[in-house]
């Protein structure tokens, strides 16, 4: 097999799988699960930013609300953990449908502002509604027994459960990007008026992408609530909407693996710098600025560009 860019994703996926299967034997599993949840969240966000060209500034709404719903289902209504997550996904998809429907009529900064506005509404509801527990959130969420068989209180079982969810979500995103639908999305990203002039109702495609992105963000959020046994205001806060933008840009928007790498980086930094208190924000901000200045395409984006231009540069 000769090396070319086309089988890059395949190679990358194989490598990623091996690392992820072995990882919990080398690293702290809860940390890894956190990385996986944020990686899925960032990849879902990237579907919108990187492949449709829409910058949402309210994705915490989907991530966080699914967390609350899942936590509530599992804790108060004794749902099976997977069923709880799926209800969370349904709610975030519906939210995505409503918010998306209203937001996609605008583009650029207006789109970002509308999504931010709605996310603030969701934040407010999370603070006020009874079942969300206000400032305390929903604590002590039981992980439960998956299908009544697998005990998820066992950290290793939980890890492989989260890994399976991550892989399903990641695969769905990969499939969507490389599908007939994904082709039209890329065409819209590249030149929306042209796509319309070819007969595509671009708003419907954008809305569909928005809903898929919201659903998968919800998948990540619901899973995270089970991992930490907690649903709280942190996950619906606008900081979270900003953090996912940061992860995606850092890793490389519009690349398959970039957002996951970005998530790994940000979560790691957050963990290791936790001792610096409020300095974390400043340090991460500084790292972000220097990364964006140094690698405009993000880390994975820059690597791909190097690989792409390498043969031509060495031919001439």
């Amino acid at each position: 097999m000769t090396w070319n860019l086309k089988n890059g994703p395949l190679l990358g996926a194989a490598l990623m799988l091996v690392v992820l299967l072995a990882a919990p034997h080398m690293f702290y599993p809860v940390f890894l699960m956190k990385v996986l949840c944020f990686a899925l969240f960032a990849c879902a966000f990237n579907l919108l930013l990187g492949y449709v060209g829409l910058l949402s500034f309210g994705h915490a709404a989907f991530f966080g609300s699914a967390g609350y719903i899942t936590a509530h289902m599992v804790k108060a209504l004794n749902f099976d953990p997977l069923a709880g997550i799926l209800v969370g996904v349904m709610v975030s998809s519906l939210l995505g449908l409503v918010i998306g429907w209203l937001a996609i009529r605008r583009s650029g900064i207006y789109f970002a502002m509308i999504t931010l506005g709605f996310a603030q509404v969701i934040f407010f509801l999370s603070l006020q509604l009874k079942f969300t527990g206000g400032e305390d959130g929903i604590q002590g969420v039981p992980r439960g027994m998956l299908f009544g068989l697998v005990d998820l209180t066992d950290t290793m079982s939980m890890y492989y459960f989260v890994l399976a969810i991550f892989l399903c979500g990641f695969w769905l995103i990969y499939r969507t990007i490389n599908s007939p639908f994904g082709q039209v999305l890329k065409a819209i990203r590249e030149n929306e008026p042209r796509a319309r002039s070819l007969g595509y109702d671009t708003d419907r495609f954008k809305l569909m992408a928005f809903v898929i992105s919201a659903a998968l963000s919800g998948l990540a959020g619901g899973t995270k609530a089970l991992v930490f046994q907690l649903a709280s205001l942190t996950d619906v806060n606008w900081h979270m909407s900003g953090e996912v933008v940061l992860m995606t840009l850092l890793g490389g928007m519009g690349t398959i693996f970039g957002p996951a790498i970005g998530a790994l980086l940000v979560v790691t930094l957050n963990n290791y710098l936790a001792g610096f208190g409020s300095w974390v924000t400043i340090i991460i901000g500084a790292i972000f600025v220097s990364c964006v200045l140094a690698f405009r395409r993000g880390i994975v984006g820059e690597i791909l560009e190097k690989v792409r231009t390498w043969p031509t540069r060495h031919k001439t």
């Binding site: 039209v184 070819l198 007969g199």
Partner: protein
């Protein structure tokens, strides 16, 4: 109403915050003809195109396509009815391959465009038709290249191939030869003549030789209004046109 005309506008107006760019235009395009829209810079030609394809909302007036009032339709639905336009500034999908550019157009009729669960290799059965469309404009050798890397003239050719791939009933071309070298212009003129055999073409064009070569009917637009209409002989001898348009250019 007359079945002879495929496009008809009635008292079409477009105002941009006080400035009237198109004023009382009654345009009739005969089915099967090549119809040129000419006029000096800023005359409102592109605006008329934008109105016809609903990229702009008319301030007042009506648009009929195949004897149907389509004033309330949107761009995409007009395109699906066979009214497809190109753009004055070349409109390709820059970071898709040349082949993919054409294939996106062909993809629409497969009705799988919302299928996000299918691999995109399911589109490969369109590749032959996409290649055939590229061959028409001599771009077959560039099929694998990224569109953004093509020189300008070839981008225009690619745009033409993409438009043609839809087999539109009416093709609206906004300056199809602008920015092209000499041989390329000749090739595009031949191509337009060939594809116009079984469709209607409405084009905006500054190159008067191209206009003279191709058009059955010419409409001259000036400051948003129709100044003259007829075949090349009539129009080129019209004193008002000579004064306003040709005079300016050939003086």
């Amino acid at each position: 109403m007359n079945a002879e005309y495929i496009i008809e506008t009635r008292n079409l107006n477009k105002e941009f915050s006080g400035f009237i760019a198109v004023r009382g235009v009654n345009l009739k395009v005969r089915k099967g003809s090549i119809h040129a829209l000419i006029g000096p810079n800023g005359a409102g030609k592109t605006t008329v195109f934008n109105l016809l394809t609903k990229f702009l909302e008319p301030s007042s007036g009506q648009i009929f396509y195949k004897n149907q009032n389509v004033t309330g339709k949107n761009s995409a639905s007009l395109a699906r009815r066979g009214l497809v336009r190109s753009f004055q500034i070349s409109a390709v999908f820059p970071h898709l391959s040349v082949l993919e550019n054409v294939r996106v157009a062909l993809q629409r009729e497969t009705k799988t465009s919302f299928h996000f669960w299918k691999p995109d290799s399911s589109l490969n059965n369109l590749n032959d038709r996409a290649m055939a469309a590229l061959e028409e404009v001599d771009l077959a050798d560039y099929a694998e290249d990224v569109a953004v890397e093509l020189p300008y003239g070839r981008k225009r050719a690619l745009e033409l191939a993409t438009t043609l791939a839809l087999k539109p009933e009416v093709m609206l071309l906004d300056e199809p030869t602008s920015g092209m070298g000499h041989e390329d212009v000749g090739r595009v003129v031949d191509l337009i003549r060939k594809v116009a055999e079984n469709r209607t073409v409405l084009m905006v064009e500054h190159n008067l030789k191209v206009v003279a070569d191709l058009s059955d009917t010419i409409t001259v637009l000036q400051r948003g209004q129709i100044l003259a209409e007829g075949d090349y002989e009539e129009v080129s001898q019209d004193p008002a046109v000579l004064e306003a348009y040709m005079g300016g250019h050939h003086a």
